[in-house]
Every structure is written in C-alpha cells, then in structure tokens.
Symmetry: C2
Subunit: 130 residues, 2 copies
DNA sequence: GTTGACCTTCCAGTGGCTGTAAGGTTTATA
DNA sequence: TATAAACCTTACAGCCACTGGAAGGTCAAC
C-alpha cells in the first residue's frame, strides 16, 4: 500500500507520516522498486494508534512511549494506565484554566456597554494594574 | 525606566518585550544615550494590557486589534465587546474538546486493569479502527 | 504522447516565545 | 583603581507539530 492509502486508513496526512518517519517516531518504511514507501496492516495500525493518541491529547514524546508499550509484548498495563491518568490530570488543569479565562471574559463583557461610545470596561480592565 | 523595570511592572519578560517590538506589535522604544531602551508609564500600560490580553486567551493578532482600540479615542466599545464574546465562544469550544478528550481517557483507564500483565484496554482502543 | 494523479526530497514558514553567544555599559564592592 | 556583578545590546538557533511549496520522478488512463 502506498503512502496515501496508509494516510486515509490511519487518519494522518501523508505529510505527517513522512514527518513521523523523519523524526524517528516510526521505523523507515519499506520501499518499492520505484522508491515509493510501502505500508502493511501493521504499520497502518501503528499510524492509527499515533493518530488516536494525539487526538486524546498526548504529545509526540508521550505517544512514542505508548507506541513502545504497544510494541512490547512484555509490557505492564499499569504503565499505560499511569500515562493516561497523568494526561487526564493535565487536561483537567488546562480545562480549569480555560474556564477561568472564559469567566474573566464574560465578566468584562457584562460590564461593557458595547455601544458606539469609547467608554469600555473591557479595555479599562485589561490596562489596569492588578 | 529600563527594560527590566518595564518587564517587572508589566508582567512580560524582557525577551518578550523586545520580541513584541521586533514584530511591530508595539512601537520601537525610545533609546537612552547608551542605546538602552527607555519606557514611560504609558508604554508600561500598553505592555501590561498585552500581557492581560494574552492571559485571557487572545493571540497576538487579536491583542494588537484590542491595543489599537485602546489607542483610538474614537473607538466604539462594541468592537471590543465583539472580540471578547467571540473569544469566549472559542474558549467554550476548546473546553468542550478537552472535556471530551478527558472523558475518553477516563473510559480507557477504567477499562484497563493497570496491573503487571500486558493486556491493556487503553492500547487496544488506541489501535482500534473507529 | 500527454494529461493528471501519484510519489520523492528539500527548504521555509507558522506562533510565541526562549536560550545562548558575544559583546558593551553601569554600578557596587574590595 | 581594579574587578566583579548585573545590567543592556544584537543576532541567531531551537522548540512543537506540522503545513506549504518548489522541483522533479513515476504511473495509469485515454
């Protein structure tokens, strides 16, 4: 299978697949006689795995750790679980940050007339020393 | 006032202040005879404004738009309000994404034994075609 | 034989900084 | 007065995770 088939089956772009190979996240693909990269079901599985890991918030370094667990038949499932719980905690932290930012924005918007005049609580609050 | 004083008063780093000048977000600072950048209260206000705008989620392009409103005495407060409400909507969207990611992670963690064995629902779900 | 859809490599750009190097200036201390 | 430290300057590289584009090779259909 050529790279574009691997891309559509895995959910990654061809650019991203080549990039993952460049940075050593996946092994260099086999090559056909014409130099085209060739992918089998197993490599597509790994690519899809990476796409899903990224989708739920893992960065490439963490995704690589997970991939190494997937590849290792002697793995311990608790290692994967630790990574997932830690990522979940990080997401929770980020969510709280975003909620707080959103709340600040709503408070500013509520205090701003939002009319044709220049008086604006939003601008005043952003410029204020806190 | 030198750049490090402006930095500590505004909440930006000296690096960031120079960077904002480089990209034209703020006007080039006045220079003392020795070539050092000089800042007055007004420029510190603008820097702090930018720091706060970034803190609540605006990117540099949006922060610049807000800064231009701040500088313009003929501004209409509704323009600021529109930007704030739109950013709030974007944050809400991002929060929903993160919540969904977190939920997926929790579901995977719940299904994973997290023991010394290799069987792992997390890895199985990440590799699965969906 | 030519069009168009693939594929290849390589380089540059994105955003928002941060780190580092190599130097100049100022201030405090010995 | 020497020197050390704490400033300041510019310039360039690196971070993350791609994405876009150029310039060219290959393949299938008409």
């Amino acid at each position: 299978m050529n790279i574009s088939a691997a891309a559509s089956r895995s959910g990654l772009s061809t650019k991203t697949i080549r990039y993952y190979e460049d940075i050593g996240l996946i092994a260099p693909a086999q090559r056909a006689q014409n130099g085209y990269r060739q992918y089998d079901e197993n490599s597509v599985n790994e690519l899809r795995f990476l796409a899903h890991a990224r989708d739920v918030g893992f960065d490439l370094h963490e995704s690589k750790q997970l991939l190494e667990l997937l590849r290792n038949p002697k793995r311990q499932s608790r290692h994967a679980r630790v990574l997932v719980l830690e990522k979940s905690r990080q997401l929770e932290e980020r969510i709280q940050q975003l909620l707080s930012m959103r709340e600040q924005l709503m408070m500013m918007a509520n205090r701003c007339h939002g009319d044709e005049g220049p008086d604006c609580a939003i601008l005043a609050e952003l410029v204020a020393d806190r």
